[in-house]
């Protein structure tokens, strides 16, 4: 028979001291103190505290673009890097590629001549690397790539080039009852392979572009899902609010992007009633990462930046606001 009075006193002591410890721990240690960090922590505190800006847990939906917002997108979208690497892996089985662009250029590492084939060549590369196989086989090729390929400048696996401050932000949101979703122009079947491992986001919370998938029942009863070389949905620009409606079915209250491709998603989020958080990652750090915005071919940030400044959205200046960029920078060097 326990001493109940002592038990309850002890329990309260444990609970309150744990609360005090948590309140003192910085949930965003890779963010420099200042107005930007405060705009995030204040929003979360208000959404979870009884008062005029309280948001019930089921409505705490947060959406994040992927390329340029959660991981790097330079010097090319990483999914293109996957496609290029995959062509090299497949090349020994395709001797005919040796003399044919864009394959020749990719095999020889001459990206410029490969890309000279334009959209037509690119679509051929995507069809070769993303279609004509089962969904299970595709998944295996992506797993192989995440474990073997390295970024040309940073010499690290691509999945290590995610932004540590954004990982902390998503964790902070989840700790406070938010659900975090990826809403990206990237391929949904590509991202789902590593989203759980890298971002702690389960596959059904990944929204992205997709190709047609066909159900196939063989004569022996075996069942396959085959990826076809046909676009089904492009989850970019005005497609992002449509994708959110289709996959999530609820308007977010928190949205983070980095380019004009996220503009419609931010506007759609902003247009809901009640408290909203709108954020942009502004790539200003050529030394630790890259610096680009209005003139960039990849991740162009122009009109969304104007609206963000007009309407007082949170614009993260990577150089100014982030103590570190990548997870490996938080670990002791070995």
């Amino acid at each position: 028979m326990p001493n109940w009075r002592s038990l309850m006193t002890g329990l309260f002591a444990v609970i309150f001291s744990a609360g005090a410890v948590m309140a003192e721990t910085d949930p965003l240690p890779s963010w420099k103190d200042g107005a930007i960090k405060k705009s995030i922590t204040d929003f979360v505190a208000h959404a979870t505290t009884e008062g005029p800006d309280f948001v019930p847990a089921p409505e705490r939906i947060a959406v994040f673009d992927n390329d340029g917002t959660l991981w790097m997108e330079q010097p090319f979208y990483f999914q293109l890097g996957f496609a290029f690497d995959r062509i090299k892996t497949l090349a020994p089985h395709h001797p005919e590629w040796k003399d044919r662009q864009p394959f020749k250029g990719l095999i020889e590492g001459d990206l410029k001549s490969a890309l000279a084939t334009g959209e037509k060549g690119l679509l051929e590369v995507l069809a070769t690397t993303h279609a004509g196989m089962t969904t299970d086989d595709f998944r295996r090729t992506v797993v192989d790539w995440t474990q073997s390929a390295h970024h040309p400048r940073f010499k690290r696996p691509y999945i290590e080039l995610v932004y540590q401050p954004m990982l902390e932000l998503m964790r902070h949101l989840r700790t406070n009852g938010f659900k975090t979703f990826i809403v990206s122009g990237g391929g949904v079947e590509f991202m789902r392979v590593f989203a759980e491992q890298v971002y702690d986001i389960p596959s059904e919370q990944v929204v992205g572009s997709s190709g047609v998938v066909k159900f196939q029942r063989a004569a022996n009863g075996s069942i396959k899902l085959i990826k076809e070389a046909k676009v089904e949905f492009i989850d970019d620009n005005d497609g992002k609010p449509v994708g959110i409606n289709r996959f999530i079915g609820r308007r977010p209250i928190f949205a983070f992007g980095n380019s004009d491709g996220d503009h419609a998603m931010l506007q759609y989020t902003a247009a809901g009633a009640g408290p909203r958080f709108l954020g942009l990652v502004h790539h200003t750090d050529a030394e630790r990462e890259y610096a680009y915005d209005r003139q960039s071919h990849i991740g162009k940030l122009d009109k969304a930046l104007d609206e963000a400044r007009e309407r007082g959205w949170t614009v993260v200046d990577m150089k100014r606001d982030w103590k570190v960029v990548f997870p490996h920078q938080t670990r002791p060097a070995n």
Copy 2:
């Protein structure tokens, strides 16, 4: 300063006695004891216990058909009931409907003459009730309907005609680390309105058929998602595995249906490696609900029933296996 020894002893006492109480509580009180109930509880116990049939939590994906599996589907799919009721609600604003089928029949309660217009008439009713409005406006019409409409035979709101044993089953799965999804031929935007309230399933875990939704940005900057009268995806038959792949991105280990429309979903689930649970609700209870299978126009169960018997899937005999059918039968009469 608490008495730590006493505190810890007390804590253990609390934890272990709570565990004992939980183990003794039947998680499926509306299921009669027997092989069917045991097939469910054994599967869940094995999936969550270290051993050859253990399944890591992220792979514990369970999918459920809706019409005829989670709620009733007779004498017509409830979503059709919504459409028919909606026509009556809109009728005062459409005097021209008085002399035109299928509207005339629906307004006058003469379902037979309305349905005589066949597929063309039905599509017109669906377009009128499901398109040409914003997603937010559509949601409001469904909320109104769930609060006002009543089933013709049972004289209760449609959302009360869900199966109590299936609610218990889904809760038991979630308690054991499973994620529960609806995978239905019904409209995804229709089901999402009440799925959280009725089934405790959040909107992103509802997979269904959909129409095209268009993003619209007005000159004044206002943003709308408009439902168009154009089918985008039919989540039925072979579409179910495709829908699972698109929305969930992971093959389920547990699937429950009630008709041949669920056959491909069951086969796709069965075709994965490792332990699997495949279940069918067989409607055998004309007194408490309905009795129908091979000859039914709605919820026809024929080929899937044959395969279930051949392969030893769990076939629930509603009359034999369920103590009660609906939630209101578990509450004292007032």
